[in-house]
Symmetry: C2
């Protein structure tokens, strides 16, 4: 099966200011596997590099006939890079769907009409004026996710209050693990008062004690608390049972569509909500994730909307809804060479 790696330099519409640092360009790597395609997001804070990902692609053994998808997935070698494994998993799903001549969501029996409203991320800005501008430019998106982690819970609350002033849209927040449990216990009821619909990763990645403190000390009727960095692959889900209200599943974090579906099954067995999230990615990886959206409570699939040079076309957002393509496999097509 012919394999080819392709490095892409993705141009960000706005520099992305996070609690981790700022960035204006992202280099992702595409995997071309026969007539199928996958994508690996190069996320610096997950230790990913294009070289490591390309090394993985080049190390792939001859794969079994992806007509037997599970076998082909089982034959993928392990890798430290979840994004590289995700790319191979996505490409094999694409190939399988093309061989069976059906889009993935149909091969899973899913109704695309059940995909939740998609959220659009508004990053922090250098000053209040440009933040307000950025918010106004996102006005058309019905559900807006505010990135927090501005320094203190107080300045974070200011960002949410500014957003509430500027926009009537539904708001949710991603604290990116910036708070201690003690800070969260104070800030979260205030966010609830402002009407924030969920709060993502209030405490640090490894702070399981913090998650437990939030669960113990917060009142019952607050917005759901969703783990993002605290959840990685399938094996990380059972540790969060009883500590979080939901998990944010990202293909580049968990290793692809198969582990993502296993995580959804586990989350549902534990009564957790499910968010399908993404990295800065083209329509290849975003469309792959979007095929799972009918199984999710929240979709945060805006990585392709944040770049200006997406070479692919796939999932669309129309009238605020996620619209899945109907072509076989992922259903994406290249629109620029």
């Amino acid at each position: 099966m012919p394999i080819r790696s392709e490095k892409l330099a993705l141009q960000l519409e706005n520099p992305f200011k996070l609690s981790y640092g700022a960035t204006t360009i992202r280099e992702n790597v595409l995997l071309h596997l026969d007539k199928a395609i996958g994508e690996a997001a190069v996320v610096p804070y997950y230790g990913e590099t294009p070289e490591r990902i390309i090394g993985y692609f080049e190390s792939l053994p001859p794969l079994p006939d992806p007509f037997f998808l599970e076998d082909a997935l089982d034959a993928l070698p392990p890798s430290e890079s979840a994004a590289a494994r995700a790319a191979a998993d996505i490409a094999l799903h694409d190939l399988w769907g093309k061989q069976l001549d059906q889009p993935l969501y149909k091969l899973w029996g899913l109704n695309p009409a059940h995909a939740p409203q998609n959220s659009f991320t508004v990053a922090m800005a250098d000053d209040e004026t440009s933040y307000r501008e950025r918010l106004r430019s996102a006005q058309k998106y019905p559900l807006i996710k505010l990135k927090l982690g501005s320094g203190t819970p107080e300045t974070d609350l200011d960002l949410v209050r500014i957003a509430r002033e500027e926009l009537p849209n539904r708001l949710c927040v991603d604290a990116n693990g910036a708070w201690t449990a003690e800070q969260g216990i104070k800030a979260i009821p205030l966010l609830a008062e402002i009407g924030v619909i969920f709060i993502e990763q209030p405490v640090a990645k490894e702070d399981f004690e913090g998650w437990r403190d939030l669960k113990t000390h917060l009142p019952a009727h607050i917005p759901p608390l969703i783990a993002d960095e605290s959840v990685q692959g399938v094996e990380s889900v059972p540790h969060l049972m009883g500590l979080v209200d939901g998990i944010n599943i990202k293909l580049a974090k968990c290793g692809g569509l198969r582990p993502a579906r296993q995580m959804i099954a586990l989350a549902r067995a534990y009564g957790m909500q499910v968010m399908i999230g993404c990295m800065i990615e083209t329509s290849v990886a975003i469309t792959a994730a979007a095929h799972l959206a009918p199984l999710a409570d929240y979709a945060d699939l805006d990585g392709n909307l944040l770049i200006t040079n997406d070479p692919y076309r796939g999932v669309k957002i129309e009238n605020e809804r996620i619209v899945l393509p109907d072509a076989p496999g992922l259903g994406v097509e290249r629109c620029v060479e």
Copy 2:
């Protein structure tokens, strides 16, 4: 969608003597749903009756387009009868596969070559001579499951010793919940010495304390202990974590293929083994279960081999292997009217 119920009187090749009682005929109910088919096993000890099952079929509301299988499954009303729900679930999967023009195992990406060896059940007999005859007539099956529950663990061990004398075949046993934990702690190491490869349901259905005692007091290197009656639907699996080595999943017990697949996902997450089992059923329900066999460690799909008037043809056992049909959906066809 046109719906029709059909009662079948299944003739058993040998009267089935169990710890629950004996039986020579079984009445199952087929569900004809448009061009698709499902089957409900009428298992008296699960409180099933043909009337209750037919009542469920007749109560089915208009179902959504099974092109969106998950929606159609979600639209099935609840029922006390897991077998009735299983029949509807099987028929919807059959219809979905026919609409997508693919056999179910391909829609799940499974390689049928990974199906485990099938086991064949030898029931108890009225006397030793006829038991020995029954064993000899099962000689062609490489893996034989002995039904125990003859009265005492001592007489059960005698059955296994007789089987070992008569046959070189691989043996496993199903105690049907006939023992106390104390009896199991004595009997199981002796079964291990005879080379029995697994022991199903040593203690009673509700005896979770018994399962715990077995786990605590038996040595580490004994054959796996598999729950059958102690496991029902998806929600019963988490209670068995750490208590059993595996679970026997039967469509008529859990409500169909979708819950069965959820149970497999949970079992794997808990490191449990998986057996796909069955009731006395025609090739309709047996073939449905067989599509899941590539995901299992053990297959106990002999319900259709125990009846003499199976009106359908589907999964076959060839050279000791499970051979799945390649036609769309379940892939079964009617061979007598």
